[in-house]
C-alpha cells in the first residue's frame, strides 16, 4: 500500500447521488433555469434576506463631512468590553444621523492607507490570524454552543528557496457565551464531546473530540516561489515583484482582480461561484493581508467602496477589542442547513487597517446535522453511537447518530477571523 492508496483510504468513496439529486440536476440542465448555477441563485437569495434584516433605513451621510466625523469617532467605539466569542458586539454608537455610509468608511480607509509611510521589507511577510468557529454541542435538555479557536501564524519567505514557516494550532473549544457556559456546566462540564467523523463518506464514526488545545502543526520548508501571498481567485502565488507591479489606479486594479477571479484553467472551468462583486470583495479582503504599497492598498479600498450591497453597522470592536467600523457586505458564507448569515468586515478607517471579518447569524436554525447518508436517523439530544452493526456503505437504515440543537440566535457571531499581525519580519515566528 503506497501513499496513493492511503489517500484513497483517507478519502473513501461516497454513496452515489440519490435518484432525486440526479433527476434534479438532469432536469435543470435542460430547463430554462440552466443559465444560472445553483450557487449563484442561492447567493442572491441569501442577500435578499440580509437586506430585510439590515433594512433599517439608516440615513446615509456621504462625503467629506462623514469622513471627518468618522475619523474623529473611530478611536472611541461606544461598545464596552469584549464579550465572549459568541456574543453580539454591534453598537449603535454615533447614532443614526451620523452613521457614515459603507462607502464613506472605505474611502476614509483608502485615504489613511495612502498616507501611510511604506515600511522596509524584511525576510518574511508574516500574517498571524485567529479564527473562531461555533461548535454545536450538548443535549436536547442542555444545548449550548462552544467557540472553537484556531490560530494561524504564517511567515512567507520573500526569496524563493528560503525557509518559510506555516504554523496552525487548534486552541480548544470553550462555551461561547455566559449562557452557553451555564448550559455546559449543567451538562456536567464535559471536556470532550462526541463528534461525527466523516459522515460525508457514508461510513459513520462518532469519535471523541477533546475540547483542549492540541499541539501546533508546523510546516517549515523552502519557499517554492518566493510568494508572500496567494490570489484567492486562481490561487496564484504572489511575489513582492508582482505585488509591486499592481496598478494603483482603482479601475485598472479592479480589472486585474477580475482577471484573477475569472481565471479558469485557461477556459476549462466555468464562472466563479457567487457574483463577481462578491468575489471581488473576497479578493480585496485577501489582498489587504498582503504587503501592498500604500497607493495600491488605497486602491484596494477604493475598489471595495465601489462594490454594491455594503452597509455600515456602526462602530464595533473586533474580537481583540480593537475599535473600527463594521461593514456588512455581500459575501458567501456557509452555515448549517436552515441558517443564514451576514458577512461583516471590521475596518479602522483612521489607520486604514482591516481588523477582522465575521459571519453574523441573521436566521437562526435548529438542527445541525448535514450530509446524513440515506437510512440514518438523527436522534435529537444525542442518540446511540453507531456501533459495528451500523457499518456499511451506506449504513443500514435505522442506525442512529447523535444530534444536537445549539442555541443559535439572531446577531450571534458564527465565525470570525481576526488579523493580529500582517507585517514584515526578519525572524520566523515561534511554533
Amino acid at each position: 500500500m503506497d501513499e496513493l492508496h492511503m489517500v484513497r483510504a483517507l478519502l473513501p468513496q461516497a454513496p452515489p447521488p440519490t435518484r432525486e439529486v440526479t433527476a434534479a440536476a438532469r432536469t435543470r440542465l435542460f430547463s430554462g433555469e440552466a443559465s444560472v448555477p445553483r450557487s449563484e441563485r442561492s447567493a442572491r437569495g441569501r442577500r435578499r434576506a440580509h437586506w430585510l434584516w439590515y433594512g433599517l433605513g439608516l440615513p446615509l451621510v456621504a462625503g467629506a463631512a462623514a469622513v471627518s466625523v468618522l475619523l474623529a469617532a473611530s478611536g472611541q467605539p461606544a461598545s464596552t468590553g469584549h464579550p465572549a466569542a459568541g456574543g453580539l458586539r454591534r453598537s449603535p454608537a454615533t447614532g443614526k444621523a451620523n452613521m457614515p455610509s459603507a462607502q464613506a468608511v472605505l474611502l476614509a480607509a483608502a485615504t489613511s492607507a495612502a498616507k501611510r509611510t511604506p515600511t522596509a521589507m524584511g525576510k518574511y511577510w508574516r500574517v498571524a490570524t485567529t479564527s473562531m468557529d461555533i461548535l454545536v454541542a450538548g443535549t436536547k435538555a442542555h444545548p449550548y454552543d462552544l467557540a472553537e479557536l484556531t490560530r494561524f501564524d504564517n511567515a512567507w519567505a520573500r526569496v524563493a528557496g528560503q525557509p518559510l514557516k506555516l504554523v496552525n494550532q487548534y486552541l480548544g473549544a470553550k462555551p461561547a457565551t455566559s449562557r452557553d457556559a451555564a448550559a455546559w456546566r449543567a451538562d456536567g462540564s464535559p471536556t470532550q464531546g462526541r463528534k461525527l467523523l466523516d459522515v460525508r463518506n457514508g461510513v459513520l464514526k462518532a469519535i471523541s473530540q477533546s475540547y483542549a488545545p492540541s499541539a501546533p502543526f508546523v510546516d517549515q520548508e523552502p519557499s517554492q516561489f518566493g510568494e508572500v501571498a496567494w490570489a484567492v481567485g486562481d490561487g496564484s502565488p504572489l511575489t513582492t515583484t508582482q505585488l509591486a507591479a499592481f496598478p494603483s489606479d482603482p479601475a485598472k486594479l479592479r480589472a486585474q482582480m477580475i482577471r484573477y477571479v475569472n481565471y479558469d484553467y485557461r477556459g476549462v472551468g466555468g464562472p466563479p461561484a457567487g457574483s463577481m462583486d462578491e468575489n471581488l470583495m473576497t479578493e480585496a479582503i485577501n489582498l489587504l493581508q498582503a504587503p501592498l504599497t500604500p497607493a495600491v492598498e488605497s486602491a484596494v479600498y477604493q475598489v471595495m467602496a465601489g462594490l454594491p450591497g455594503s452597509r455600515t453597522l456602526g462602530l464595533m470592536r473586533d474580537p481583540l477589542g480593537r475599535g473600527g467600523y463594521g461593514i456588512a457586505y455581500a459575501g458567501q458564507n456557509s452555515l448549517p442547513q436552515g441558517m443564514q448569515g451576514q458577512s461583516v468586515l471590521i475596518v479602522d478607517p483612521s489607520s486604514g487597517k482591516l481588523l477582522a471579518t465575521e459571519v453574523i447569524v441573521t436566521t437562526p436554525g435548529t438542527g445541525i446535522v448535514r450530509d446524513l447518508p440515506p437510512g440514518v436517523v438523527p436522534t435529537p439530544g444525542g442518540g446511540k453511537v453507531p456501533g459495528p452493526r451500523c457499518k456499511g456503505n451506506p449504513p443500514p437504515s435505522g442506525c442512529t447518530v447523535p444530534f444536537t440543537y445549539g442555541t443559535h440566535h439572531q446577531g450571534q457571531v458564527w465565525s470570525y477571523t481576526v488579523i493580529k499581525v500582517a507585517a514584515w519580519a526578519n525572524t520566523l515566528p515561534p511554533s
Binding site: M1, D2, E3, L4, M6, V7, R8, L10, L11, P12, Q13, A14, P16, P17, V21, T22, A24, A25, R26, R28, L29, F30, A34, S35, P37, S39, T150, L166, Y170, Q192, L197, R200, N201, G202, A206, I207, S208, Q209, S210, S214, F217, Q224, G235, P237, D264, Y265, R266, G267, V268, G269, G270, P272, A273, S334, R370, D371, P373, V385, G387, P388
Partner: protein, 197 residues
C-alpha cells in the same frame, strides 16, 4: 470541433456526442447520464456529498454552456469534465481545508471509552491508523492547490497523466513533476507510518 457524424447502425464515438449536442441539446443528456455519478463521486470524496450535489450539477451546467469550446481532438470528455469539476472545487478550498483540519483534529483526539469498547480488538491498530490519518490529512492540506489537484485526479479519479494534462490544461511534463513533488511530501509526512518505512 468534431462534427459528430455517424454512419448507419454504428453508434458514434462518445466524444462526438458533444459536438452534435450543439445543435441537438438533448444529445448532451447522454454525456450527463454517462458521467454524472462519476463526477459526483469525485467531488463527494473531496468535499462531501452535500457539496457534491450542487457542484456536480453545476459542472454539467457549465459543460453544457461551454460545449462549444470543447475540443474533442484535445482529449476525452471525461478529462474535460474533471477539469471543470476541479475548477468548481477550487472555489471551495476553504471548506476543503476545514475538512482536512477536522480530520487532523479528530484523529489527534483520544479515543472515547465507549468508542473503544465497540472495537476492543481494533484499538491498537486504530491508534496507529489515526496517527497516520492525521499526518496524511495535514500533508494534503499543506500541498499547493495545483499539486493537490494533480494528486487527487490521479489517486481518486484514476486519470492518466495525459488526461490530467488535458483536465487542468497544463503541460504533460508538469503533471509528472507536480505528482512526484506531492507524493514526496506525503511520504515525508507519513514518515514512520509509511508502509514502505
Amino acid at each position: 470541433m468534431v462534427a459528430g457524424q455517424s454512419d448507419g447502425a454504428e453508434p458514434p464515438p462518445h466524444e462526438q456526442y458533444i459536438g452534435r449536442s450543439m445543435d441537438a441539446p438533448e444529445v448532451f443528456a447522454v454525456v450527463f447520464d454517462r458521467h454524472f455519478h462519476e463526477i459526483h463521486g469525485y467531488v463527494a470524496r473531496r468535499l462531501g456529498t452535500s457539496a457534491a450535489d450542487d457542484i456536480a450539477a453545476d459542472t454539467f451546467l457549465i459543460a453544457y454552456r461551454k460545449r462549444a469550446s470543447y475540443d474533442a481532438s484535445a482529449g476525452s470528455v471525461r478529462a474535460w469534465l474533471y477539469g471543470i469539476a476541479t475548477r468548481q472545487i477550487s472555489r471551495h478550498r476553504r471548506d476543503e481545508m476545514r475538512t482536512y483540519r477536522a480530520m487532523r483534529r479528530a484523529a489527534g483526539s483520544p479515543l472515547a471509552p465507549e468508542h473503544a469498547a465497540d472495537h476492543t480488538e481494533l484499538v491498537a491498530d486504530r491508534v496507529t491508523a489515526l496517527t497516520a490519518r492525521r499526518d496524511l490529512a495535514a500533508a494534503l492540506a499543506a500541498l499547493s492547490p495545483g499539486d493537490r489537484d494533480v494528486l487527487l485526479l490521479v489517486a481518486l479519479a484514476g486519470l492518466s497523466h495525459a488526461e490530467v494534462a488535458v483536465a487542468l490544461r497544463i503541460p504533460y511534463g508538469t503533471v509528472g513533476s507536480r505528482l512526484s513533488r506531492a507524493r514526496k511530501k506525503l511520504r515525508a509526512a507519513l514518515g514512520a507510518h509509511h508502509p514502505a518505512a
